[in-house]
Symmetry: C2
């Protein structure tokens, strides 16, 4: 298997997975639209995340507004810290992220973490210029990158679109604490849109201004930091770039396990270790091979203002290099303390001995759109010069495609009957009668549909259909009356393809 000749961007556009938004108005950088299969794949990834991180543990979920009043972000520190290094071309007036321009010119990594002084110096040292017109650039300044608005049509209160979902879990901590019957540990999860008003997003789907986050805040007592499920993932192997290794400039990650990294103090808390283990398994479930995954510790200057330790979960993609798909942050009591101070409301929890304390927080935070790209990129393969999207069967946008062999002699009518019956039975089925059968198989494979159901002349005689496997191209034959039931067993992973019917 080699890489496909088309980029995933091209295939995504052709097959309707995603494309740049507002195309008819010339586009707008940093915004993407998901088409029908994209919407379905995205929803399947979200469902899988919920299975791994929320449902099984019985954690809580909330939904908090996207627009928040300014005081929330003043208290949280975002008004002071949620900024990027902006530089303006003195000739054409375009603005850019100074650190990204330096990275592109020098090959340096994580320039942002070096701080404003170093960035100004590097910009001058390497004579970085406007990528558009070649003009000289102004000294970088820090610019707030939240979307700002006025709440109330006649104005009155300044608001911002949230750049993370987490503040909703902190500002609503007390309600969730009551719901959890005032017992720690518990977690609040939230999925939803977040917006970051990037200065000049230029890296396709991996750096967008509006995206979906899947975030979880685990609240625990620092005097009782035990995670009861740690043993579930204790032996999970991980590749880890520690803070020390990064300081020394080492590039080859340590091969260790969750429990070992915890024992050696490379991961600070049991809860972080647990979620990193679950994270590894979740991303593997999405089809990303373990050898393309690593955890990378943030250097102190790189960490967000709230974090005592952060590990990025990164995946290696041919088109994007190492890409962060999740951040595992130890936020300590920073946020609850900040909101206690900002609001004057009590944010403490009660120990059995009667003492009060502000809970500590561990946060696994996933970028859903980046997981989407990771799942796409790692599942695209080429077979006989055709693109095949070998997604795990429970992620595939469509479960089956129904295809009449030809569009005459009553075959389309019969195929539509089969299609409707599958829809009725709850199977996600596509129907396609346009073009040759070979072309339709190719289309079905390219969008990752695990099984193609073909209605042919024998169908009219025997009421049987042919099923074709996306990956092996093997075929089996089975009676229509068993189709829905068998397909359900297949998609519950209770059957292999050849168990579906009689091999032909």
């Amino acid at each position: 298997m080699t890489r496909p000749p088309d980029t995933t961007d091209q295939i995504a556009k052709r097959r309707g997975l995603y494309w740049p938004s507002f195309e008819i108005y010339g586009g707008l950088s940093g915004f993407y639209t998901y088409g029908d299969p994209g919407t379905k794949l995205k929803r399947n990834i979200e469902k899988t995340w919920r299975d791994y991180f929320v449902r099984r543990q019985g954690f809580l979920e909330i939904e908090d507004p996207i627009i928040n009043p300014e005081k929330v972000f003043r208290a949280s520190g975002h008004l002071d810290h949620f900024k990027e290094h902006s530089t303006e071309c003195t000739r054409c007036g375009r603005t850019y992220r100074a650190d990204h321009l330096i990275e592109e010119k020098t090959g340096l990594e994580n320039v942002e973490a070096m701080g404003p002084e170093a960035i100004r110096t590097l910009l001058r040292q390497h004579d970085v210029r406007c990528p558009h017109c070649g003009g000289p650039l102004n000294d970088p300044v820090l610019i707030l990158t939240m979307f700002k608005t006025e709440i109330g049509a006649t104005g009155g209160e300044t608001g911002y679109a949230r750049p993370e979902a987490a503040q909703g879990m902190f500002t609503n901590f007390r309600r969730a604490y009551l719901h959890a019957r005032e017992k720690l540990p518990f977690a609040i999860a939230q999925t939803g849109k977040v917006l970051r008003n990037e200065i000049s997003p230029r890296r396709g789907m991996t750096r967008v201004r509006e995206y979906t986050i899947m975030e979880l805040e685990l609240f625990f007592d620092p005097q009782n930091p035990t995670c009861p499920w740690l043993h579930d993932v204790a032996d999970e192997p991980i590749k880890l770039l520690t803070e020390d290794m990064e300081t020394r400039g080492e590039k080859t990650p340590l091969e260790t396990t969750i429990s070992e990294a915890l024992r050696n103090g490379q991961i600070l808390t049991e809860w972080q270790a647990y979620f990193m283990g679950v994270s590894k398994r979740f991303v593997t479930h999405l089809g990303v091979p373990p050898d393309r995954q690593r955890f990378r510790a943030h250097l102190p200057a790189e960490r967000s203002h709230y974090s005592a330790q952060t590990h990025d979960h990164e995946v290696h993609l041919e088109n994007y290099g190492w890409l962060e798909v999740a951040g595992h942050a130890y936020r300590t009591d920073y946020d609850l303390r900040a909101h206690q101070q900002g609001s004057g409301e009590d944010m403490t929890a009660l120990r059995e001995d009667g003492t009060r304390f502000i809970p500590h927080v561990v946060e696994p935070s996933f970028g859903l759109d980046r997981l989407f790209i990771a799942a796409l990129e790692t599942s695209y393969t080429v077979r006989d010069k055709r693109n095949v999207l070998s997604l795990p069967r429970d992620l595939a946008p469509y479960q089956v495609s129904v295809l009449p062999l030809v569009t005459k002699d009553g075959l389309p009518e019969k195929a539509r009957e089969v299609h409707e019956a599958l829809l009725d039975a709850g199977i996600i089925a596509a129907y396609d009668e346009s073009g040759s059968i070979g072309r339709r198989y190719a289309r079905s494979d390219e969008i990752g549909t695990p099984i193609a159901v073909t209605v042919d002349y024998d169908t009219l005689k025997e009421d049987t259909v042919t099923l074709r496997d996306r990956d092996s191209w093997e075929q089996v034959r089975l009676p229509i009356k068993e189709l829905a039931c068998r397909l359900r067993a297949y998609f519950d992973y209770k059957l292999d393809f050849l168990g579906l019917g009689e091999k032909i």
Copy 2:
């Protein structure tokens, strides 16, 4: 059954369904937060909508950004028309919707539809004053009620948060048309957040600034307006207030059927009629009795700028009166034509005879948060002075609650085992050991959990548990090893409660 002594708002807050957002910062009108059971109920309603309107028909879904550049809303007409009548108190400076103040003072309905002149006159005639300080009010002015922002951290392009999802379906029409192999009719659906910068929202959860919309645009050829599924809902009885009836001031709706209303020209197109029939069934599925539902035609002055006919689907709630939960609009070719003009891009479809035309559009648009309130309000009942939320079993936030009879003698440990096994089996199970068993039953009923599973002393001896029905309070006993499997059958509506085990 009578109404509960508590309002749904009170129960919702106590049980964590929803509450006003940003409480610790004094709140912000028009924003609500969903807690854990609320998030789950909301997701179940969305899933049911998808079953009724998208999945079964094989329609397309997309996900388009919330933030749109100004040119989208200039072309769509929103910049000119998406406005409300604002009036300001000359004494305290507070702003209000003039038409709402008039409605509150006079009992008149739909004052907005009367137009700016009439509103100014009514305000003076009835001497409407500031509800806060009693001060005199300025003449109303029309104010744009979209949230405005700058795209790009250093500014540059004005953007707005979308007030409806529909524009995404229009601006992406061509991609979906290609995906549908250039054949009409087809539909594009979208769920997601929309924002309306209401001047002064003062009607709780029914008038909010940020909410979730479930919208669908059906594109068809006006020369071939047939809906192939019309017969599915042709006989569905509906109550209808027609334009004529409203003009005459009649209050008692016509009792008719979908096909009759279509035949009599009261509904203009087959597709509208079809979706109105599906709408009736969907809202009934959510637990709203047919006699609390009606369709009300908009008068011409009330209709949105894009609509040739609109029927609101309204439900009657004790606390809110008649509440719009959906709008069924015949948008004609207004939007596609507007974007063709605004963008210069071709928005036509091709007939088999080679002629080109701009497709017409029918739109059913649901407010998810209002359906949520409707489902809550109509399912709350009182039994023995306790609140019981008699939600349809497939909507309930939690499927079962697991309760140890007492918190000693190993019962909590056994109950936690049962709880974990149910979670493993994919059942949405809550666990509760706090307070007396009677109190926990009450809590379980109040949040609408269909079945309570009690672990008692016999459980330790016989490995059986007691199941208690939320609505009848009947109890059955069954072996733990059959529990998950039987519960699954129950939640698939394949079993009645008494079919779950042996009655006790």
